[in-house]
């Protein structure tokens, strides 16, 4: 039976789409057939991050409205075997997402994939609620700053009260915390919340900590999920997070400030 995983946050710009792309790719790399759905109707981004924007013909809304079949809309990833993308429509708005429509598409995808990753839009309105409604698990992407933590707390409340699992009284949605843009130097300087601070406020299990890095921005601009960059710390951190998602035990890395050599500091090298 396919697992539906929503990647959500409440707040915008914290790294939901980057994380969806990385985690979806990681699951497929490990041999699980995976589809990533972009729920951000009207502001689609996933296709850019996945580098398949030129191959979008039909989209999620077309499938919901019966204007295209799932096969026509699904885009096969060229780099990773077993990975597909279902892009969002750029010309519609969130009202195009109906509960019946989304349910029908998800049912069909469940028969074909092991994992369905739903990339949620920001906010707590209809788009975000539809993205999390059918979820079995939720990855809550949070930056180490107070407003992001507050919004994550809010979205956790919505998961507990407005998801299908909550409505039908089933086992609650399994929650994971993914801390992104973590910068140990700024944590030491008191400019950022620490992992412990965020864990204490949100009180959910920590899936991973992704260090703040130029590699993430570079990967996004190149349309290549950062997890494919095995030399980058961010890529390795996402890899660890996927392993933990699959139930493996991995120690958290990149949490501490790195000592910079005198020369490196002098030459302005990155940490």
């Amino acid at each position: 039976m396919a697992r539906i995983i929503v990647v959500t946050s409440g707040k915008g710009g914290v790294g939901k789409t980057t994380s969806s792309a990385a985690i979806g790719t990681g699951l497929a790399q490990r041999g699980h057939s995976t589809v990533i759905i972009d729920f951000d109707v009207g502001l689609r981004n996933l296709d850019l991050i996945m580098g398949c924007e030129r191959r979008v013909v039909y989209d999620f809304v077309n499938v919901i409205n019966g204007e295209a079949t799932l096969n026509q809309a699904l885009i096969k990833d060229k780099r990773t075997e077993g990975l597909f993308i279902l892009p969002a429509s750029q010309t519609r708005d969130k009202d195009a997402l109906t509960e019946e429509g989304v349910s029908k598409v998800l049912e069909e995808l469940k028969g074909r994939f092991d994992y369905i990753v739903c990339d949620s839009p920001a906010g707590i309105e209809k788009g975000a609620q539809m993205a999390l409604y059918f979820a079995d698990e939720a990855i809550v992407v949070t930056n180490p700053e107070v407003s992001s933590v507050r919004d994550s707390d809010r979205i956790l409340g919505i998961l507990q009260s407005k998801s299908l699992r909550a409505r039908e009284g089933q086992d609650p949605v399994k929650e994971h915390l993914l801390l992104t843009r973590y910068n140990p130097t700024r944590v030491s300087a008191g400019e950022m919340l620490s992992v412990a601070d965020v864990e204490e406020i949100l009180a959910i299990p920590l899936l991973g900590v992704i260090p703040e890095s130029q590699d993430v921005l570079k990967a996004s601009n190149q349309g290549e999920p950062v997890i494919l960059n095995v030399d980058a710390q961010a890529g390795q951190a996402y890899s660890d997070a996927v392993d933990r998602l699959l139930g493996e035990d991995r120690a958290h890395r990149f949490l501490d400030e790195q000592k910079q050599g005198f020369l490196k500091r002098l030459l302005g090298g990155r940490g």
Partner: protein
Amino acid sequence: MSTPDFLLKGSTVTVVVLELHQYDSEAFPVQLAERVARAPGLFQGSPVVISLESLPADCGAVDLAAMLQHCRDQGLRPIAFRAVPDGLQEVAAHTGLAVLPPGGGRGRTIEAPPQEPAPDIEVRTEQQPVSAGRPTRTITRPVRSGQQIYAEGGDLIVLAPVSEGAEVLADGNIHIYGPLRGRALAGVHGDATARIFCQHMDAELISVAGHFLLSDALGDTVLRKPAQVALDGDVLSVSAL
């Protein structure tokens, strides 16, 4: 969501019970007047339940309407009959007063000065339970920002954190075993004896029976420490536990 105009609640009130041992239409008003005269303030306007439990079965017809009038003449306000014998059911129903089932026989006699002959009437106060117990609501999962939990008619126990931007309310007391970072409002229907207890006081707002304090008012002795909140007169006091 619209607020309902009313709330149905169970509550326990203390009332005067007039226990009738026998009824003599001439002696009753005289004895009652004497009894009331001894403590006029005690009975003026006081609600009273007339108990027919001790009335002998063979007492015959009792003119309940006339008896009620005697009570009212003395300033009492009869509100109900208790344990009405079968023969008097119809008459009792006619008076328009409520009919209560027999009581449990508890209660104590109101102390009155020693008196010569045993009178026909004995006045007792007694707890009249209308509904038993207060429901307690127990929450085991974190109360998140934007969520609101209300324990209607009773206490609230939260075994998890209450986040900033979350709100917990109760008609009774509130106990929070995780950190309290949101708002907690106890006694929201005016119960001034309600209290808030928490293990980690870091609240945005605390309130008992409408009197509230904001986080700025929390001193170092209680901030992020186990504390309780209670109403002391008109002042909300927060003290370390």
